[in-house]
Amino acid sequence: MKQGLYTIAENVPLTHSIYKMKLVGDTSECTRPGQFINILIDGLFLRRPISVADYDEQSITIIYKVVGKGTAAMKKMKVDDTLDVLTGLGNGYDTSCSGDKPLLMGAGVGVPPLYKLAKELVSQGKAVKVLIGFHSASDVFLADDFAAIGADVTVVTSDGSVGKKGRVTQYMDDYTHVYACGPEGMLKSVYENCTTSAQLSFEERMGCGFGACMGCSCKTVTGYKRICKDGPVLFKEEILWQTQK
């Protein structure tokens, strides 16, 4: 983990409620796809944890949904504004167990962390399948970006207004490992339907975001884990749904 000041290079809408922000600064602590950053916002007490969609040597890209005071304030931020950010938080996805045909599954604002993951897996020569779900055609984002990096993308919408109709878990087929991020109901469905090993990224209300406060603990097969520090990615084999809450 590192604390640093980052300059906003881009802050643009992708849909009516989803925004993309590019932050320029030290990215040395970004070591794995699926990690997150924690952003200090003027006038709000707690930082806002947001998953990292992409990073390189100079910049971190986040894609966030405007849902509360923090993200509403972020939406109004301008290019060249600076932000106090903690980077390199969370364990992230392990790409070493993907097999040849990894399946990346995301729903809604759970889709962004899969982007950097897809990039890494494609660069490792894997046949990457991406299965992403949204409510409706107007909610879809990143689908073209996944295609542009060479992933095989399937879009699913609840109302069938674009792509396939229904839920992402109806379309799981021919894969060696599953990587998932999305609402808890979707993750549970992935867990129940998945026939291989899998890594699931969880969300929880956090205090600090770096393992100090025990605000986001959960029970697992291998003991108590902090979603922020020991997660957010948990292996399927260690998840205990009954006692998750």
């Binding site: 007490f45 707690l46 929880e204 205090g207 100090a212 406060c213 605000g215 603990s217 029970k219």
Partner: protein, 303 residues
């Protein structure tokens, strides 16, 4: 040269800054960020006799200038703390540490405190009789002068190291409870623990934290903490450790003028992991600005 040294129950601290229990783990997470030996000391995560998972999640709710937590004393239990956490702690911290003890019965407090008392790295025992997040234990002792006195006397009989009783602000007469602790042999008192609070999600019409209510802390509680530290300092002769909303060197000085010998920093660590480092760096320049040569001189300046 500004003298930041203070003495807490006979142990000298390089400065009065102490990260508060529950906001600093067992130290090693923060040791990855900076050399935590710059701290006066720190109070480690509240430890109970048996392992505890704590309360269901969500456990955190944001508030204006503060937060509510309902963690509920999650900890691996005293045996594992001694076997696994303290060795890791001593690898990154070479000063005496404050052991924070939670419990649900007099006997449990006594047994846990006695086990931690035997650890070389432990300098003080901070007995938490005020955690608002555990049913049936903790706070019941902290809200009654006679129960607080009973715990204090029982723990004092079982340990050799200084005993600091951590007090709840959710009472009508905190000074009376502090005095009862002093009369029963406490070497110090620390205050305030969190204020009971609650937030409701107006969309779902449900409490934000799963346990309904939790402990409110952060900068918003600072004036309440200063007032209570001051009331207690007027009443007792034992050292008072000031806690509550401290986020700057100025806050530290104010808390000491209210009567605190040392000052704990809690919620600020969760927002800025470097909060204590930054406060310590700000102490000497702030002292110079206010023409304070030694922090010892200002303790209780406003009592």
């Amino acid at each position: 040269m500004a003298d930041t040294k203070v003495s807490l129950c006979g142990i000298e601290l390089d400065n009065p800054i102490i990260p508060a229990s529950g906001t600093f783990g067992y130290g090693y997470e923060f040791a990855e960020l900076y050399d935590i030996n710059i701290l006066g000391t720190f109070s480690f995560k509240g430890t109970t006799l048996e392992p505890r998972f704590g309360n269901p999640t969500p456990r955190i709710a944001e508030c204006t200038a503060g937060m509510i937590n309902s963690v509920g004393l999650q900890n691996p239990g005293v045996e594992k703390v001694i076997a696994e956490e303290l060795p890791k702690l001593t690898r990154c911290f070479n000063k005496k540490v404050m052991a924070n003890v939670g419990g649900f019965s007099v006997e449990e407090y006594v047994r846990t405190a006695a086990m931690l008392d035997a650890c070389d790295c432990v300098g003080w025992l901070e007995i938490n009789i005020s955690c608002p997040n555990v049913h049936g234990g903790g706070i019941a002792f902290g809200t009654s002068a006679s129960a607080a006195a009973q715990i204090t006397a029982a723990v004092k009989k079982a340990v050799r190291k200084p005993v600091i009783i951590k007090l709840s602000p959710n009472v009508t007469d905190i000074a009376g409870i502090a005095a009862a602790c002093e009369d029963s042999g406490a070497d110090g008192v620390s205050l305030i623990n969190t204020l009971l609070g609650m937030r409701i999600d107006i969309k779902t019409r449900r409490p934000v934290v799963a346990n309904r209510k939790g402990g409110f802390s952060g900068e918003a509680v600072f004036p309440v903490a200063v007032r209570m530290v001051n009331e207690v300092a007027q009443r007792v002769k034992i050292p008072v450790v000031g806690i509550g909303g401290v986020a700057s060197a100025e806050n530290v000085i104010e808390m000491m003028m209210a009567g605190a010998t040392a000052v704990q920093v809690g919620a600020a660590n969760l927002v800025n992991p470097f909060a204590c480092r930054d406060i310590i760096a700000g102490l000497a320049p702030t002292m110079e600005k206010y023409k304070i040569n030694s922090l010892k001189e200002i303790i209780g300046a406003c009592v």
